[in-house]
C-alpha cells in the first residue's frame, strides 16, 4: 500500500517535471523568435524608459526563474519560512542593487551626452 502511494506520488512528480520543461522550452522559443524578428512596434514603443520588447524578455525570464526555483529546486515543497528567507532576501537586495546602479548609469550617460566635453575625437 505504502509502495503504491509512493509510486503514485512519483508519477505526479514526473508529470510536473515534464510539464515545467515544456513551459520553459516554450518560453525560451518565444524569446528566441521575438529576439530574431524584433518586431519594430515592440522595439520602438517605450514603457517606463524601456522598450516593450525588453520588458517582455525580462518578465518571461523572471517567469522562467520562478518555475526553475519552484518546480526544479522544490521550493514549492519547502516550508513558508524557508521560502521567505531565501526569496524575499534575494528579491529585495537585488531590486535595491539594480535600482541604484541603473539610475547612476543613466545619470553618467546624461553627463557624457549633455556635458561640454567631447568623448569622440
Amino acid at each position: 500500500m505504502a509502495h503504491d502511494t509512493a509510486h503514485h506520488d512519483s508519477a505526479a512528480a514526473k508529470k510536473r517535471i515534464w510539464k515545467v520543461f515544456g513551459i520553459l522550452s516554450v518560453l525560451t522559443i518565444i524569446e528566441v523568435i521575438l529576439g530574431y524578428i524584433r518586431p519594430s512596434a515592440l522595439v520602438h514603443t517605450d514603457i517606463i524608459g524601456m522598450s516593450i520588447l525588453n520588458w517582455i524578455f525580462i518578465i518571461l525570464t523572471i517567469y522562467k526563474a520562478y518555475y526553475i526555483t519552484w518546480a526544479f529546486m522544490h521550493m514549492e515543497h519547502e516550508t513558508k519560512g524557508l521560502r521567505r528567507v531565501v526569496v524575499w532576501t534575494g528579491v529585495f537586495l537585488i531590486c535595491y542593487l539594480i535600482a541604484i546602479l541603473l539610475i547612476e548609469g543613466g545619470y553618467i550617460e546624461q553627463v557624457y551626452t549633455d556635458g561640454y566635453i567631447t568623448w569622440e575625437f
Binding site: T28, E78, G81, E109
Partner: protein
C-alpha cells in the same frame, strides 16, 4: 538531562519555541540554500554592474545579434542567437535530467539515479564545450575594426551591398607602410615578446578604402532606429584618415572590434564565471555520481546528497537564464 533547570518560556510546543525544526530542512540543504542565495547576490552584482556600464554607454553599446551570430558548420551564415538558444536548451534539459535523478533518489532507485546523473554530467560537459566555442569565435573576431585616437572603433560596410559589413582584410591593399615586425623573445634584452601583429596595417586599410568608392565607415553610435550610424563617403574618409590610429582584430580584455571595451570585459567575466560554475558543478556531480555507483547513499538510506548537488545544478541553470536574457536578448 531532564534535571537541568531551565525556566519555562511559555512558548513550548509552538513552532519557534525551540526543540523542533521549524524549517523542516536538513542542515546540509539549508546551508546549500544559504550558499545559493549568496551566490545569487554575487551574480546579481555582476549583472547589475553590466547594466550600469550598459546604461552609461547606452548610445554606443554593441548589438548582440551582430556579435553572436555563428553556428557550427554554418560558416558565414548570419544566425544570430540560435547557437546560444541551443546552449540554453542543453542546460535546461540537463536540469530536467537532474531533477529526474533527484526523483529517482526519492524512490531509492539506484540504477535510474546513475542513468540520469550521467546524462546530466554529459549535458554539463556539452554546455562548457559550447561556451568554449563561443569564446573562441568571440576572441578571434570576424571583420576587424580600426581604433580611433579617442578609443572608439570604426567598422566598415559596403554601400553597394546593402551596407553589409566588410572585413578589413578584404579592404586592405598596397604597401604595408611599415617596417614593423613582430618582436620576439630572442631579440629583446629582457624575456619579453609580443602577440601576433594584426594581419593588415592601417596604411593598407586606408589605401584600400580610398580605392573603393562603395566603402563607408560605421561608427559605434546608435541612431534613432537602434542601428549603428553609417557615415557618408566624405565623412568616412575624414574619420579614417584623421582619427584612425590602429587595427583591432578580435577581442581581449582591453580592446575589441565589436565596440565598447567594457563589453568584452563583461562578456569574459560573467560568462566565464558562469562557465566556472558549470565546470565545478560537473566536478561535484562526478564525485556524487561515483558515490552513487559505490552505493554510499544506498547504505546511508537516503539520496539527499543528490538533492543537494541538484539544487546547485538548478541554480547554475537559473543564472544562465538571466545571462541569456541580459547578454543576448535585451
Amino acid at each position: 538531562m531532564d534535571t537541568t533547570a531551565v525556566a519555562k518560556t511559555g512558548t513550548e510546543g509552538k513552532l519557534w519555541g525551540g526543540g523542533s525544526q521549524p524549517l523542516k530542512a536538513s542542515y546540509g540543504k539549508l546551508m546549500m540554500w544559504f550558499f545559493i542565495l549568496s551566490d545569487a547576490l554575487t551574480f546579481s552584482g555582476f549583472l547589475a554592474a553590466y547594466g550600469f556600464s550598459r546604461f552609461k554607454y547606452s548610445s554606443e553599446w554593441p548589438i548582440a545579434d551582430e556579435v553572436f551570430n555563428h553556428f557550427p558548420f554554418l560558416h558565414g551564415t548570419d544566425a544570430p542567437m540560435f547557437y546560444v538558444a541551443l546552449m540554453t536548451f542543453i542546460l535546461i534539459f540537463s536540469s530536467v535530467t537532474m531533477v529526474l535523478a533527484v526523483d529517482a533518489g526519492h524512490q531509492m532507485n539506484k540504477n535510474k539515479v546513475v542513468t540520469y546523473m550521467a546524462l546530466t554530467i554529459l549535458g554539463g560537459l556539452v554546455f562548457v564545450g559550447s561556451q568554449a566555442w563561443e569564446w573562441a569565435n568571440f576572441i578571434s573576431g570576424e571583420y576587424g575594426a580600426v581604433e580611433t585616437r579617442s578609443g572608439k572603433i570604426l567598422q566598415f560596410v559596403d554601400a553597394s551591398n546593402d551596407n553589409k559589413r566588410i572585413s578589413i582584410t578584404d579592404i586592405a591593399m598596397g604597401e604595408s607602410g611599415t617596417e614593423r615586425t613582430r618582436h620576439n623573445e630572442s631579440e629583446g634584452i629582457w624575456y619579453m615578446s609580443e602577440k601576433d601583429l594584426p594581419s593588415v596595417t592601417l596604411q593598407q586599410v586606408k589605401t584600400g578604402f580610398e580605392a573603393n568608392e562603395n566603402l563607408r565607415v560605421r561608427t559605434m553610435t546608435l541612431n534613432e532606429e537602434g542601428e549603428k550610424t553609417v557615415l557618408d563617403r566624405a565623412t568616412s574618409l575624414d574619420y579614417l584618415n584623421n582619427r584612425g590610429i590602429g587595427i583591432i582584430e578580435g577581442a581581449n580584455l582591453t580592446k575589441n572590434e565589436y565596440g565598447a571595451p567594457l563589453f568584452a570585459d563583461f562578456f569574459f567575466f560573467i560568462t566565464g564565471f558562469h562557465g566556472f560554475h558549470v565546470f565545478s558543478g560537473v566536478v561535484i556531480l562526478c564525485i556524487i555520481f561515483f558515490n552513487v555507483l559505490l552505493g554510499t547513499y544506498e547504505r546511508r538510506g537516503s539520496y539527499e546528497m543528490v538533492e543537494k548537488v541538484g539544487l546547485y545544478w538548478h541554480f547554475v541553470d537559473l543564472v544562465w537564464v538571466f545571462v541569456f536574457t541580459f547578454f543576448y536578448l535585451v
